[in-house]
């Protein structure tokens, strides 16, 4: 697809996203919000996994950090929601750095285990916080979790899904544009070079350690932002929302959409949330179908949905050109 056609397609989608939801009703809009929020988190994972080639089974942990960070800022420090969003992003980036740095030397399966450990450990630590005897034992709200207040613009309180949808959409648009910019930059090129050939990257001057650590920070930033929005969306923040399954769900979004594409991350989030909604009506056994869907995607969906569409378009264009020639 050419850049202009892609921009046109993006604008059409954006127009639909603005105009259609008022007609959808509360629940469907609520689901739309979830799609947008997960899309933001999944963009971060696309940077790390798709472009950096690093496996993370711990993305939900970073989202959890963002959700608790934003909630605590709002509840304890009286920070407004609007300030909590960038702050949660920053916290996510810091925790991402704190993960990326010690895991610098780990590759492939080792990195998978390390991030897996993080994803499983973080909820455990939060759940058992009072046992550590550090700080306020009720810091994370115990079994009840935290209830962050609703955001407001002046006197307009964001307490309906439709209002929150426009917030999510605005953040998502910024997140997408930012990700495209980051990934098309020299930094993004460095990251892809590192993934495909660490020797070539070093031999041409890429600071591989640095780009690797910062890709964790980018993933963490997006996850933190996602978490802050999710905190409001869920209403109550508890560790059960950030299980290992959520980490795997994020991987699924990235794989289904197409690991290397920002649009793919969004498509993947929409597809997975839609699947989740559809399955919830049919069965209580989500993990079975999640597992099967992810397995099929890994085995057969090379390049994801977006990759397949792109390949189809490329073939069509080649055929056009061949016919004109």
């Amino acid at each position: 697809m050419t850049a202009t056609r892609r921009n046109a397609a993006g604008l059409v989608v954006l127009a639909l996203a603005v105009l259609v939801p008022p007609a959808l009703g509360e629940y469907r809009t609520y689901v739309l919000c979830l799609m947008a929020i997960y899309a933001i988190g999944s963009i971060g994972l696309t940077v790390l996994v798709g472009h950096g080639g690093m496996i993370s089974l711990g993305h939900a942990g970073l989202v959890c950090v963002g959700a608790y960070g934003a909630s605590l800022l709002m509840i304890r420090a009286d920070v407004s929601f609007w300030l909590a969003l960038p702050l949660a992003t920053a916290i996510g980036m810091l925790v991402g750095l704190a993960l990326g740095y010690p895991f610098l030397k780990l590759d492939g399966p080792y990195l998978a285990i390390a991030t897996f450990g993080f994803a499983v450990a973080l909820p455990e630590v939060i759940n058992r916080w009072s046992a550590f005897g550090v700080g306020d034992p009720a810091l994370f709200g115990g079994a009840l979790g935290l209830n962050p207040p609703s955001p407001a613009i002046g006197s307009l309180i964001i307490n309906t899904s439709l209002r929150f949808w426009y917030v999510c959409l605005a953040v998502l648009v910024v997140a997408v544009l930012l990700a495209r910019r980051i990934l098309s930059s020299r930094w993004g090129q460095d990251l892809r070079a590192y993934r495909q050939s660490p020797p070539a990257a070093s031999a041409y001057g890429v600071r591989t350690r640095r780009v690797r650590v910062w890709s964790f920070a980018v993933a963490g930033g997006y996850a933190g932002l996602c978490g802050a929005l999710l905190a409001h969306h869920l209403g109550a923040v508890g560790t059960s929302s950030f299980s290992l399954t959520l980490s795997i769900t994020f991987l699924m979004m990235v794989v289904i959409g197409g690991v290397e594409s920002v649009a793919g991350a969004v498509v993947g989030a929409v597809a997975v949330v839609a699947l989740q909604e559809w399955l919830t009506g049919q069965t209580s056994n989500l993990q079975l179908w999640y597992g099967v869907a992810l397995l099929l995607a890994v085995m057969f969906l090379r390049g994801g949905v977006v990759g397949m569409v792109q390949a189809r378009l490329r073939r069509l264009r080649h055929r056009d050109e061949a016919e004109h020639a």
Binding site: V49, F116, G117, I248, L288, G291
Partner: protein, 287 residues
């Protein structure tokens, strides 16, 4: 103190049994099998179903082990070999997907109820050296000791063991030497699958049989495998046992709440400070 060590050895023994499977599979295929625990759960449920249907427990156990021995190589033969591009990323995602799918399958077939699982040996606890231990606990220790000996003997004295070693050192040269590499790899997965089901059957009487019973065990077994070096069976056994003892001591002297976080601390420290583990060889440096 000794009581804590003894009970730690029991849970450590189960982690070790699981860790053996993880290490064997990693050596054979270079894959961390995140589905290993769920396979064990499934096999344990099969044992339970057979036993509930009236079969004697040993026969039920045999059937369960057989299920493990057949299902485990299928992961390698049908899923991993079916990947179009076999990279660390796709391999991990595939086993993670299987983790979910198998968990769901067990749920679909056997339901979400928690069951009391029959101990393989029954009778009053045994008291010796000032320790009180249930017969099941002693059985766990015996099984782990037995497995350790069997593994050592297999690697040292049997042709299959030698072939396994050759394959894990270099698949290419094993192929060049005319070894039936695929069959050997499948056998390794089969042995690992049986060890997994055995671990499930051993822990089920202690934690009760449930769809999610192995998730925690798998995490700790992974920690054990990593601390042991991922490539060393004896390392995994030692590390698994040590981890169990450490966890039990933390639970006893510090707080039961902190036992699990302790395991994660060990896992992360091991990965960061010494990724090759206590007993593993240093990972090859890529140019």
């Amino acid at each position: 103190m000794m009581q804590y060590v003894a009970s730690g050895l029991v849970s450590g023994g189960i982690y070790a049994t699981m860790a053996i499977g993880i290490v064997l599979i990693y050596r054979a295929s270079g894959v961390i099998n995140f589905a290993h625990g769920e396979l064990a759960t499934f096999g344990t449920f099969v044992v339970f179903a057979c036993w509930s249907a009236g079969l004697p427990l040993p026969l039920a156990l045999l059937i369960g082990l057989l299920v493990g021995a057949v299902a485990s190589p299928c992961i390698e033969a049908f899923v991993l070999s079916g990947l179009r591009r076999r990279t660390h990323l796709t391999e991990v995602m595939a086993t993670v997907a299987l983790f979910l799918a198998l968990n769901g399958l067990t749920l679909a077939v056997f339901g979400e109820e928690t069951h009391e699982f029959p101990a393989l040996v029954t009778g009053p606890p045994i008291e010796a050296f000032g320790l009180v231990m249930s017969r099941q606990s002693i059985l766990v220790l015996v099984v782990v000791a037995g497995l350790t000996l069997i593994m050592a003997a297999m690697f040292r004295f049997t042709r299959l063991g030698a072939a396994m070693r050759a394959v894990s050192e270099s698949r290419e040269s094993a192929e060049l030497a005319g070894l039936p590499v695929r069959r050997i790899v499948w056998s390794v997965w089969a042995v690992a699958g049986m060890a997994g089901v055995l671990a499930g059957v051993l822990i089920a009487p202690i934690v009760y049989l449930n769809v999610n019973m192995m998730i925690d065990v798998l995490t700790k077994a992974l920690a054990g495998a990593v601390v042991g070096g991922l490539t060393s069976v004896s390392g995994a056994i030692t590390a698994g046992l040590l981890l169990g003892v450490g966890e039990s001591l933390v639970a006893g002297y510090v707080s039961t709440q902190l036992a699990t976080p302790f395991v994660f601390l060990v896992l992360v420290l091991a990965l960061v400070v010494r990724p090759q583990g206590l007993f593993g060889s240093a990972p090859k440096v890529k140019l």
